[in-house]
């Protein structure tokens, strides 16, 4: 097709061809084309097949309101080709058709519509019952547009940006640009978002102005250049707002252009004020076959010509309900498109200049008429126009029908901020009832049509936003407001719904093939409100969401419920719109995911351990070394701690300092035990409970000075501990400071019979058992002056020194110990080895041997609870109550009868003789080399806790009858007297 090349409004560069491949044939568009415009220019009329009826679908609008032009591009399904710029070498395919969209073997589905009434799937395919599983598979295959391969990989680059601004203007048309300029004049930093590749909105492609003014496209260009050169205004084109949330949070996605370093960029910002100036679209006209290829919105036909240089047909008929429609007809006629007739549902209120223009060009004009039907299977052959009272009709041949019922405001962004919309009788629009603070609107979204009004309303909104942000400009805003009020208002939009009839092929929603008939059926079945009808018929739930049906569905429902069609309200109810939900445009998951950072913490000796072959696992926010060999039984690591010495990186444990006059009170509140009993130089093991007495954390507390304490928490709890203490002391007005030192503190646990030998090599301090015995702590330094706080603990059951070291010294300390230990067989061990070692000692790991049903007493840790402190700790009530409660899960040690049988952790304990046969489960169980037995810890109901009780273990692998035998035994299993850790 030859393009119109001399238009001043053209946005394609006809000197720069862009090749593409469509169904194995090469074609060529131009720089600036979207995929859809390039295809249209190449003669493609059928872009896709519809979801249910496989009807041919073509270009209907240019902003992606429906799935009509969704295609597969470079392997990516469901690309909205009407908004996607044509890129060099794009591989374009149809979808949802057998063979091609043009010749789809499933086209016969269109004739089966009477078997598919609204919601038919709810009342079919379930009888007999055996039919449904088969039918479900077929439904699945038939449904869905586009296919994505499981091994598809997204190749684009995705970026994120979190810009700051005082004002975000959404929509770069004349109103939005005026708003941005007015606000910038008042000193605001402004961000302007525009979905199209250029600014200008509805002015960009229009020649006509009002009266003496410059042509609209020139006004747009002038505004655009002022906006683009203002430093205070940042313009983002190709950037569609997709989300609006409370307190003015705005999200948007930019599609990268050829010169951008990204393909998609996610934007998120929280400006102080928002101006929504997204203009209006055309409301689709409902008539028979209203979505045939060859039927399009008048604005679409106009933009095809003026922006892309494409005349959409050879002979056109127009059916409109708005002046812009008349303008499009006139303009296209002047550009060389033969227009056979123009119908307008309005009987009065047309712009007289436009009507005169039509007369001058001898275009028959039918006020009070509308399109009633289109003939033609794969395109438009003829159109039937009829008078709205139904009295007369005329059939006209043509290949293009430009049809719209009128306007519909692009109110979706506004509704995300303003909540439910209400029907406005004046404009016939759905508009916000209230505006939250800092949210303003401008332009055609209100129903303004005259260019002058649109521009002034933008200024008003910009100044209002500036005043909201504190600028002294209320007077100026009011002056413009008065100026606007003095100008003639826009004419009420047409409220035309449709000719009476069965509406069998009158499409309300294209994506889901929903017709007027379906809506009527839904109402007939008792679905009274549009929100329910939407669900029952699926109208507005497809890829275009409410883009096509949003306005018409509620009107149609009102009309169906109302016998007289010029009144849209019945029983006092007015059309109720459905809820708009983000994202306002479909957004690639890749674009939302953005740069895909992984947030993780590494300990100061992460690399050192990696170098020694550590296998890391994520534990909460941390990476921890779990294994130091491929042997997941870690027997060498375990043996080495028992016979020589090992070192464990325990830096992830929470480390806190609490100090101040009421520090002790705060500790008393959160710890079950009595923290006033902490002896100088001694370590106190302690537990925190929740209100149910469940242990939420355990660790140690030491007193490091007057009113000054240090305590540790488990890895997982470190993050919550400050909040926990703050919350549980919130009414006390206590004076203390709490500092989370976790990230600044590294911990090495040096454990094993040779631990002292190693330590003595790196410090001058006296670490002998006499000077530094079990359960004590001490500050000293390692060679070279590395300060350490050393705690003598025994979690793994051997002589252990837990060295707390400033994080910045950790690497040095690690290396020093490593070297000093080489003669003693020192090697690192991981969390799994620790797991086995502490299991042999019967030491509990919270979450592994405890859960929400177990409290401190159930874990045999009642000794950590002090009943008579003057400050009642959290959980005390529950613990006191539980002392009298016999039926609780309790921790026991178990030993497998068969020492070659190691059931997996989590296996359950069962007894068929009782009503509730699952009597407990295994927390951790391992083959212990030190004991030459399989031992574990389990939670069982109280009745099975006596030593010697036989238990049946079921691991969930085989049949429930396949059990393993175990016996309840005393803990600890290893070194019951605790001699080895006291060495």
């Amino acid at each position: 097709m030859k393009r119109l090349t001399s238009l001043p409004t053209l946005r394609v560069d006809v000197g720069r061809p862009v090749p593409f491949v469509y169904k194995n044939q090469t074609g060529r568009g131009f720089k600036g084309d979207t995929i859809a415009t390039a295809l249209y220019a190449a003669g493609v009329r059928i872009f896709s097949r519809s979801l249910k009826y496989h009807r041919p679908r073509g270009l209907f609008s240019l902003d992606g309101e429906s799935s009509n032009t969704m295609m597969t591009v470079n392997g990516v399904p469901n690309v909205r080709t009407e908004t996607t710029l044509l890129a060099e070498g794009a591989m374009i395919r149809d979808q949802n058709a057998i063979f091609t969209a043009r010749n789809d073997l499933l086209g016969f589905m269109d004739r089966l519509d009477r078997f598919m009434p609204a919601g038919f799937y709810y009342e079919t395919m379930h009888k007999p019952a055996s039919l449904w599983p088969v039918a479900a598979k077929m439904v699945r295959k038939a449904a869905g547009l586009g296919r994505i391969a499981p091994d598809f990989r997204f190749s684009g680059a995705c970026d994120e940006m979190y810009p700051a601004a005082d004002l975000c203007v959404i929509g770069g048309g004349p109103a939005g640009m005026e708003a941005a300029l007015a606000a910038a004049d008042q000193g605001l930093r402004v961000i302007l978002l525009e979905a199209r590749p250029w600014l200008g909105g509805s002015f960009d492609y229009r020649e006509r102005g009002s009266g003496e003014d410059a042509p609209l496209y020139r006004q747009a260009a002038d505004l655009a250049s002022r906006v683009s050169t203002r430093a205070a205004i940042r313009v983002f084109t190709r950037t569609a707002m997709v989300g609006g949330y409370s307190d003015n949070l705005v999200t948007a996605v930019t599609e990268g252009g050829p010169d951008d370093p990204f393909d998609y960029r996610y934007l998120e910002m929280r400006p102080r004020a928002v101006v929504v100036a997204t203009g209006s679209r055309e409301r689709p006209l409902i008539f028979e076959n209203n979505e045939r290829p060859g039927v399009m919105l008048p604005d679409c036909a106009l933009r095809l010509a003026r922006t892309y240089g494409i005349l959409a047909g050879r002979e056109a008929v127009f059916s409109v309900g708005h002046d812009l429609g008349l303008e499009a007809a006139l303009d296209l006629s002047e550009l060389g498109l033969p227009v056979r007739a123009v119908a307008d549902v309005r009987t009065k209120g047309h712009d007289p200049a436009l009507v005169r223009g039509l007369a001058d060009r001898r275009i028959p004009f039918y006020p009070g008429w509308a399109a009633a039907a289109v003939e033609g299977k794969k395109g438009v052959k003829s159109v039937r126009l009829a008078s709205c009272d139904g009295g007369q009709y005329r059939i006209l041949t043509c290949d293009l029908l430009a049809a719209a019922a009128g306007h519909t405001p692009a109110v979706e962004p506004l509704s995300l901020f303003c909540g439910p919309l209400a029907y406005d009788g004046q404009t016939g629009y759905f508009l916000p009832r209230t505006y939250p603070a800092g949210v303003f609107a401008a332009g055609r979204i209100y129903g303004l049509e005259a260019p002058q009004n649109i521009r002034i309303s933008g200024r008003v909104a910009g100044l209002d936003a500036a005043a909201f942000c504190g600028a002294d400009c209320r007077g100026a805003a009011d002056a413009h407001r008065n100026e606007l009020a003095a100008l003639p208002m826009g004419r009420p939009a047409s409220k035309w719904v449709a000719f009476p009839g069965p509406w069998r092929k009158h499409f309300v929603d294209f994506d889901e093939d929903v017709t007027g008939k379906h809506i009527r059926q839904a109402v007939g079945r008792g679905f009274g409100v549009p929100e329910l009808i939407k669900r029952f018929t699926a109208a507005g739930t497809g890829p275009g969401q409410g883009g096509i049906s949003g306005h018409n569905l509620p009107l149609l429902v009102a009309a169906i419920k109302n016998p007289s069609r010029d009144r849209t309200d019945i029983h006092g109810t007015v059309p109720a719109p459905t809820t708009v939900r983000p994202p306002l445009r479909p957004v690639f998951l890749a674009a939302y995911a953005g740069s895909g950072r992984e947030m993780v913490k590494r300990t100061p000796v992460h690399d050192a351990q990696a170098w020694e072959g550590a296998v890391f696992r994520r534990v909460g926010v941390w990476h921890r070394a779990r294994y130091f060999s491929a042997d997941l039984d870690v027997s060498e690591e375990v043996d080495n701690v028992r016979t020589n010495v090992g070192m464990l990186d325990a830096s992830t444990l929470g480390c806190f300092r609490i100090f101040g006059p009421d520090a002790l009170s705060a500790l008393q509140r959160v710890y079950a035990g009595d923290m006033s009993k902490i002896k100088d130089g001694r370590v106190k093991y302690a537990a925190m409970c929740n209100h149910d007495g469940c242990v939420i954390d355990d660790g140690v507390v030491i007193r490091i000075g007057e009113n000054d304490y240090m305590f540790t928490t488990s890895t997982g709890r470190a993050g919550e501990t400050v909040e926990w203490i703050r919350y549980h002391t919130r009414f006390d007005n206590w004076d203390f400071h709490l500092v989370n030192q976790t990230d600044g503190t590294g911990v090495i646990n040096l454990a094993g019979p040779r631990a002292r030998d190693v330590l003595e090599r790196v410090t001058d301090a006296d670490v002998s058992n006499q000077a530094f015995s079990f359960g004590c702590w001490k500050d000293f330094s390692l060679s070279g002056g590395i300060p350490v706080r050393c705690l003598r603990l025994g979690f793994v059951g051997e002589l252990s020194f837990e060295l707390n070291i400033p994080a910045s010294y950790m690497q040095a300390a690690w290396d020093m110990l490593r070297k000093a230990g080489s003669g003693f067989g020192l090697r690192p061990f991981g969390v799994e080895a620790q797991n086995i070692l502490r299991l042999e000692k019967g030491h509990v790991i919270l979450g592994q041997e405890s859960e929400q049903r177990t409290n401190l007493l159930d874990l045999n840790m009642g000794f950590l609870f002090s009943r008579d402190k003057d400050i009642r700790p959290v959980g005390a009530d529950a613990l006191l109550q539980a002392e009298k409660d016999a039926g609780r899960l309790t921790l026991v040690g178990i030993r497998m009868t068969d020492s070659s049988c190691v059931p997996p952790d989590g296996s359950i304990l069962v007894d068929d003789q009782v009503v509730d046969p699952v009597i407990g489960y295994v927390g951790t169980i391992r083959k212990s080399r030190a004991l030459d037995a399989v031992v574990g810890m389990a939670l069982v109901e109280r009745a099975w806790t006596a030593e010697g009780t036989r238990l049946a273990v079921y691991d969930g692998g085989g049949e429930p009858s396949e059990r393993h035998d175990a016996t309840v035994v005393r803990m600890p299993f290893y070194d019951p007297e605790g001699i080895r850790m006291r060495m």
């Binding site: 547009l145 994505i148 007939g524 029952f536 007495g693 049903r853």
Partner: protein
């Protein structure tokens, strides 16, 4: 072939001055209760009061996942009965509830998760509910889109596979139950808010509505996320319930890609493909108590980040719509079903959080029995409110759950 019978009654039935039972809330649980009251107990002078329209609450917002592989023996049988009821209800209601039995895969991303799954699997199997442990390779065979790389945030160790589960069309359940109940004479009053519960001497006497008081000896409050608030404001009954917002979203429809419901605790995400082809996905709740049904920017982004890592091909798919509903959470992730305590004739069924769709059929049946006989069925006894007073949580989740602001 298609009788133009009503599914929902056209307009509201007349509001009578007395009913045998009044059910507050037009969600799944009450509609199911109404159906079983009428069907199994011949009690059809029953009113369901719904403030908006039926299915307005969680009933119309959930992601329709059904399964029976719960954690404890008190829960599993109830969920199993519920699962077994879908085909039965489809037949009895003569309405296709579209139970799609695709099975559920819970991805496991650590040794600890495998252990936790083991307990669930063993318990389920022991009680006759099919459930298996799969290794990573077997898992990927079932869901080829999964990312088996070790380099992702939470590498996949395997999965808990539960073949009997799947998805059901949630709207169909709402409408089918409403249709069935209405056909049996139950009055469903939409746009009718319960304003208060009238009592006398510790007994219920009626329910206040904008159209006056309805007299009744039985009231069941089961209004999803609103229940705890209603019980407190109407009767000063305090419930240990935190209400949180939970969001969900769908992608554009695709040809079949996911053959199972896939969920991942570590990534806080689950996804399944609806019969329409959309990938429906949701996850954890917003982390603070809240009565809003607004969505948030962070959530949809998180979903995308998680899904793209777990199933990289989804990067090339688009999100199309997101929404939010309320989850009424108890401290032990098990519901509260109780009655006649502290007020004679007042029943409650709530705390269903984000898992109350799958159970509605069975609970409706038991609650109907409870209302009809006045005696709590054994199956429901463990779910009494008093368990919290006694610090005896049910252990439906192993973790300690906390929704207060200290969380």
């Amino acid at each position: 072939m298609f009788g133009a019978k009503h599914i929902l009654p056209k307009g509201n039935p007349p509001l009578e001055s007395a009913y045998d039972a009044v059910l507050i809330g037009g969600g799944l649980h009450n509609l199911a209760t109404a159906w079983f009251l009428a069907k199994e107990h011949n009690m059809n002078r029953v009113a369901v009061l719904e403030k908006n329209y039926i299915g307005y609450g969680g009933a119309g917002r959930n992601t329709a996942i059904v399964r029976a592989n719960q954690r404890t023996q008190k829960n599993i049988p109830l969920y199993k009965e519920a699962l077994d009821l879908w085909p039965v209800l489809t037949r009895e209601l003569d309405f296709n509830l579209m139970f799609y039995n695709c099975g559920n895969l819970n991805l496991l991303h650590s040794e600890a998760a495998v252990k936790a799954a083991r307990t669930n699997i063993a318990t389920a199997k022991f009680l006759g509910v099919e459930s298996h442990l799969l290794d990573a390779a077997e898992t990927a065979k079932r869901v080829p889109a999964l990312n088996l790389s070790q380099k992702i945030t939470h590498p996949i160790h395997g999965a808990m596979y539960h073949p009997p589960g799947g998805i059901v069309r949630h709207d169909a359940v709402v409408w089918g139950l409403a249709k069935g109940a209405a056909e049996k004479g139950v009055h469903i009053h939409q746009q009718t808010e319960a304003l208060g519960i009238a009592t006398k001497n510790g007994r219920v006497t009626g329910v206040k509505t904008p159209a006056g008081t309805i007299y009744t000896p039985r009231v069941l409050v089961s209004a999803g996320g609103y229940t705890a608030g209603l019980l407190y404001h109407m009767l000063k009954i305090k419930m240990p319930i935190s209400v949180l917002t939970i969001q969900a979203m769908v992608t554009q429809p695709l040809k079949p890609l996911l053959d199972h419901v896939v969920s991942s605790g570590a990534y806080h995400v689950y996804a399944n493909q609806t019969l329409k082809g959309e990938i429906a996905t949701g996850a954890h709740m917003d982390p603070w108590p809240n009565y809003t049904t607004q969505t948030t920017a962070g959530y949809i982004k998180h979903q995308a980040e998680a899904l793209v890592e777990l199933m990289p091909c989804l990067a090339g798919v688009k999100f199309m719509r997101s929404w939010a509903g309320l989850a009424d959470m108890t401290p032990d992730m098990a519901p509260i079903m109780d009655g006649n305590d502290p007020v004679e004739g007042v029943y409650m069924n709530c705390g269903w959080g984000y898992f109350g769709f799958k159970s509605c059929s069975a609970t409706g049946r038991y609650m109907a029995r409870f209302l009809a006989t006045g005696k709590c069925p054994d199956r429901l006894k463990p779910f009494a409110l008093a368990r919290f007073k006694n610090h005896r949580l049910m252990g439906e989740t192993a973790a300690l759950v906390n929704y207060t602001p200290d969380n």
